[in-house]
Each structure stands twice: as C-alpha cells, then as structure tokens.
Symmetry: C2
Subunit: 448 residues, 2 copies
Amino acid sequence: MPRTDPGSSLLLTDLYQLNMLQAYLDEGLTDTAVFEFFVRKLPPTRGFLVAAGLQQVVEFLEAAQFTQEELDWLAASGRFSPEMLESLAAFRFTGDVHAMPEGTAFFADEPILRVTAPLPEAQLVETRIINLLHFQTLIASKAARMVLAAPGKALIDFGLRRAHGAEAGLLAARASYLAGFDGTATTLAAPRFGLPIFGTMAHSFVQAHPTEEAAFTAFARARPDNVVLLIDTYDTEAGAEKVVALAPKLAQEGITVAGVRLDSGDLAAHARAVRPILDAGGLPDVKIFASGGLDETALQAFTESGAPIDGYGIGTALTTSQDAPGLDCAYKLQAYAGVPKRKRSEGKATWPGPKQVYRSYDAAGGMTADVITCDGDDQPGEPLLAPVMASGRRIGALPALADARAHAADQLARLPAPLATLAAEPAYPVQVSQALRALADQVDRESG
Amino acid sequence: MPRTDPGSSLLLTDLYQLNMLQAYLDEGLTDTAVFEFFVRKLPPTRGFLVAAGLQQVVEFLEAAQFTQEELDWLAASGRFSPEMLESLAAFRFTGDVHAMPEGTAFFADEPILRVTAPLPEAQLVETRIINLLHFQTLIASKAARMVLAAPGKALIDFGLRRAHGAEAGLLAARASYLAGFDGTATTLAAPRFGLPIFGTMAHSFVQAHPTEEAAFTAFARARPDNVVLLIDTYDTEAGAEKVVALAPKLAQEGITVAGVRLDSGDLAAHARAVRPILDAGGLPDVKIFASGGLDETALQAFTESGAPIDGYGIGTALTTSQDAPGLDCAYKLQAYAGVPKRKRSEGKATWPGPKQVYRSYDAAGGMTADVITCDGDDQPGEPLLAPVMASGRRIGALPALADARAHAADQLARLPAPLATLAAEPAYPVQVSQALRALADQVDRESG
C-alpha cells in the first residue's frame, strides 16, 4: 500500500502555528495579513540565487486541508478548543499570491513570494511554504553554478542517495533541471515531472560478473540503446582497452558503445589517458563521463584545463548544496489589517509593507540594478513579482517546467559578467527606494 | 486528497538499478548477494557517528512493491522486456538483514547494515536504503554533538522550515530525538512517531497585536498550559519587564508564565540581562529559552560561560547538518554466490565478504577499541551487528524509539573522553582483523 505523503499534511507545520491560530480565533484576529518570503543574506559563496519551488507551493495551497484522521488526532490531543477544531475542519486557503516566476535570478532582501490572506490562513501555511521554497531555491542556485562552470557539458543529477530523504531527492532533480541540468538518475522524476532520466551501471554490476568483459557485454545487450560502461572498478585504462576490444564484437550485434564512465581517482588524468586509447581504438565518438565527489569548483578546473570529459554526474554536492546547505530566509509579516508592520529584532530588521522589485537592463539586455520599493510605487524597469493565485486558486496555468528552465537560462545569460563566473562579488546592486525608507521610518515612529 | 508518499515508491531509485536488473534477469544472475552499508571516512568535524534509520529501512523493505500505475509507466517507457516487467510485478524483498541497533555509536569502515538477498533484490533497494540510513545517521550524529555540548539543557528541534523537504523535516525530528533531544516543533512528528512537541509564538504574532502586552495576554489565555513568551520582537529587556508586569495579572486568572524566548542579538548577554529582571520581578521559576542560528559550538560556548539559559531551539544547523551535510557512505557488494568481492577503485577500495564488528570495553564500561573482521571469525568483545530481518520479514519487534533513545544515551556515556567533547581526535581505534586482511589478499590474487 502506498503511504500518505507527509508533504501533503497540514500537520507538517510548527506547533506554534496552531498555538497562534487558537489565539487568533479566540481574539477574532482574522483580518487580512501580508507575508513575504525573502532571503536576508546570501551565503558567502553565492552571488545570486535562482527562485524555484513556486509550482509546489501553489499545489500545496490549492490542496491544503485537514483529513478526518488529522482532525481526530488534534481533538484527542486536548490542546485546542472545539471552535478551533471546527475552524480547522473548514480550513481552505482563500488568499492571493504574488511571486517571481521560477527561474528568476534574485538577491538579498528581495521578496520572491507574497501571501495576502486572512491572518490565520497566512500563518498556518508558513512552515511548508518556507520548506518548499527554501529547498528548491537552494538547489537551483547551486545547480546554476555548475551550469556556469561547465558550459556545453552534459550535467546529470546523481544525488538521490545522499539527498535528505525522499522529497529532497525528487525535488532536487526538478530544481537542478530547472537551472539547466540535462536530467537525473532518479527514476520517479520522469513520471512525476517529465524529466529526462539516465542510468548506467554500478561497480557491483561489474563485480558480480567473472570479468569486466562479461559485465560490459551483458549490460550492452540488456540496454543496447544507451551503452555507457563503467571502467574504473579495477584499473581505468585497462578498462578502456577492454572497451576497445569489445566494441567491434558488439557492433556485429548492431550495438554501439555510447560512452564510458570514470568514477574514481584523478578524473582529468584518467580522461586524458582514456581519450587516446578510445581514439586509437577507432572509438572517437565514444563519450567520456565523469562522476565521484564533483562540485562546481572541480567542474571549473576541468573546464579551464580542457580535460576531455563530455559530461558529469553530480551527487552530494548538488543535492545537499554542500557548501551552503541552508539559506538565511524568512517569511515575515509585512502588514496586518492594512497597517504596515516591521520586525526590529537585532540583525533581523525587515522592510515593512507589501513590496515590488524592479529590474533594469542595459542595451544588450544585461541586468544592471534592482530597486525594492512599496507595491504601487512605480519605478523604471521590469516588475518581477506578478499575481499567481487569487482567492485561493491559480490565475491561469503556471509556466511549464521547460519554460521555467528556458527562463532560468535566459536569466543566467543576463547576469553581470563577474556573477556569471563562480565569484560572489562584487555584489549585485540592489537599492531600497525612498518610498520604502520613508515607510520604514513612519512605522518605527508609530510603533515607537 | 492526501498524495502518495514518494518515499514508498520503488521508482524512487536510480535508473541504473533497473538497467542492471534487466541484465541480471537476462543472464540469470539471481544468486545470493551480500551488500553492506558503511561510511568510508568521517567528516573532519565528527569523531563518531550514531546509527539511525533502521526502522524506516525495515518498513520500506517489508512494504516494497510496485503499484499497477508504476508498472504501467515502466511498460510504456519501452525500456524493459516483458519478462522484466513480470518480474517487477512480482517483486517482494525476501532477503535477510543484519544491523547495528539504532543509537549505536560507530566509526569509519564499520558496516552498520548488511543485506543478504538475491542479487536483483539487493540491488534494487540500494538507493532508498542509502537515502534513509544516510540522512537519519547524519542528523542523529549532529544532534549527539549538541546533546554533549549542552548537558542538562532542554533541546528542541526547530528545523522543519529549512530541512530539505517534507521527509527530511519529519525524519530529522525523529533522529534528533533518538540522539537525545527532548522533542520537536514539527507537529506531524507526534502522530507519526509519538514525539513530544513544543511550540511558542512567532514574531508575526507579536506584530499582529497593537502591543506586546496584548500579544502576551492573548497567547497566555489561548495556551495556558505552556506559556512561553517571545520577548525580542522590539527590545528584549523591555520585553522581559513587560512579562514581569503581566505575570501577576495572569496569575489572577490562574495562568503561570513558564518561560521566555530570546531569538536575536547576543543571546548570552540578553539572558544575563533578562535573568535578574525576572528574578527581581518574582519570577525565578520562569525559564529562559534561546534560539536563532545556534549550533553545537554556540551551545558549548554558552555552557562554558555559564549563560543562564535553560533550553535551546535548534534549527538549520541541526536539520541540514550544516557543517557536514553529507557523509561519504556506500552500499557495496561484499559477496556474490558465496564468493567474496572487493572493489579496488583508487581511494574507494573496500574490505571483502560479510563482516562483523566487535567492541571492547574497559572495567568502567567505556569503549576502548573495535575490530572489524569476517562474519564468523569470533573475536573478544561485543558483536555489534545482529539479525533484524529473515526472508523479508522482521525478526520480532524492533526496539521502541524510547529504547533506541536510551541506547544512544548509553553509547554517548561510554565514548572515550576526548570524543565526548566536540573534538574529532584522537580517532577511535578501529582495527581490521588478520582474517579480514588475509581474505582481501586472497580476493586480490584470485581476481588478479
């Protein structure tokens, strides 16, 4: 029996959300609230981020309701009033959502999503909204760096096994594809998201056979459409020689060897040794794929040294965003009942009110600067946040994943030159408008 | 409608597993294989790891089968033979599993799980076994460091929002509790795992009210059983003064303030300022909780300086294992059809054959050394791997989570003194037995 997805449960939330809801309902504090999701500060190794996860947020908000089983558990917990339980039974998200399209490059303090809804609704969905937007944005941003570091190379997500659980593996496949990867090894990503999937063989496959030749032959016959052979189980160059010896025999069966994979040792050195072996053996079209502990720094080094590698499988560094596995992000109250609000906690102060981000471009279409301002304070440039849900339902269709991927590629092409390398500096210029500064001062004066 | 859990799908696997299965079935390579899961190398900031995730692995293996929908998708993909599809339709895990109990401390190269099953079965389940064991072990190991760094303090998991997806949030709650945390803010962890759950209020709650007093009063009335008030939204010490002023009024309603929470600024300094305010205000029993970007290094500093903090909420650092978000782990073929196997790839060589780990203790019960040897080669000390599944079903009940938690606490108490601090050195002594070295030499000679 397939189990229920914890990600579809409204109990996948911090208990304090439910505690606050009880108080809000007791007090009748159900007026309209505005919350925004933004990243306070970029990790030191990120010059930009790539927005991702909106599709899953919209699906979550549209489907969000408590099951009878969950309501029974809440009642049995004895924590909540009968009125509260009634209200939870009727819970549906009825608010509006504005957001940057998936694939948009963005920077610190820029809201990428705004929720406008009755306070209890906007509060209850906080945890899962952050959970979804944070993770996919984290992975798309990491993947974008790998795309920039390996131009023209095939990039495949190999990271399911060390992703943090099932949903992380699945959504990392989606987020990395959105950012420009070519596909994933995660099978379920094909039926779930329509992603291209790729798979070769494990060392155990080679080891389970008496010889490498036997393993390669068996694999080629079983998967003749995409014969990629793992040649490093015992000795990489000897493995390449075996491929050369085997290829003509397979050709007689109508099977073409498509590639070899290297997964250990000095990958660039092995690629430089293997390429001439393949070429001299009449296999110039056989591609070399590399995997094993790679990150964008390694990819960039291969690119700079011109290592003869045609594609990469990337695992842990991608799906855990290893150098920066978390973003300093928040979903904060910006207004309640039409009154702008601002948090002033040390080091965590926020800009008040619903906001918009305007982006300017140079004549060649390159990004030049952003301005964060109050929603409604028109500025030159392109407004980045657009309505995506009204009264709890999506407004038209969201972009298809292929279109979001094309948008991300367009964004990477428009980045200022230094940020299109792996440099995180100089920081992209983001200005806070006069109108927004004035509003912040006013809020400070009034809440004294 | 609740959705299906991706974690219960057998398509949540690397495509290469299915590709290899096709070849194994074509060749009739369905003899018994032995695979073991182990960590090759500890992260530089870990002196030990804590085994976790076995419960979920056993549940996965017992329930594993393809749904009709998944079989239809596999057939429509055109990748696999009719015989393969028939075999997948009949797939059940029928193998044996040996493992270290959850909560056991372990070290590099020590198998914590062994699967003995027909090769295609043992291969197909690889990805999800790694995905489950890696993540919970990662989090339990990180959590254990926090437990060691903050003796006698309450530790609560606050990390769902920045965990990597739904399952990561939920399983991090479980793994951190197993390692000694007191509970979690993740509501769903209570019905799913029986964990104690805790929740206070967000800054937005304070901001949605005209004053902090109004917010505190409303919260106390709504959740009178556990009144913990967040006092840093505007000014922490002023917030504490407001609690002092409010407490007698709440007392008249029969409501006791249990604690205050600090979430920004210099937490130790604020705690030192707040404690005398509360004490002078007649509230010596009100606890001080701290949260906000904490990790074990911060906890240790608070402990060493004697900061008057009674408990901590830990978020991102815990649920992403921020300093080491991945472990260099593997699930490797150790034997096929009774013949020991060994991978010799550079930097990734493995010890062959099914193995056992023996642990020795000093007179006081402290751990002194481990020996890794061939299964069946009896050594002095306690064998750490025990049978947990036979022929695809669990052997008796697995330990309850509370018992696994007690076992983890016992393990932490038995660690060598240097490892019971946050030091990762000196490395715990793990020896490889003569028998295992001899077997490795023999395998090398025979596979020459």
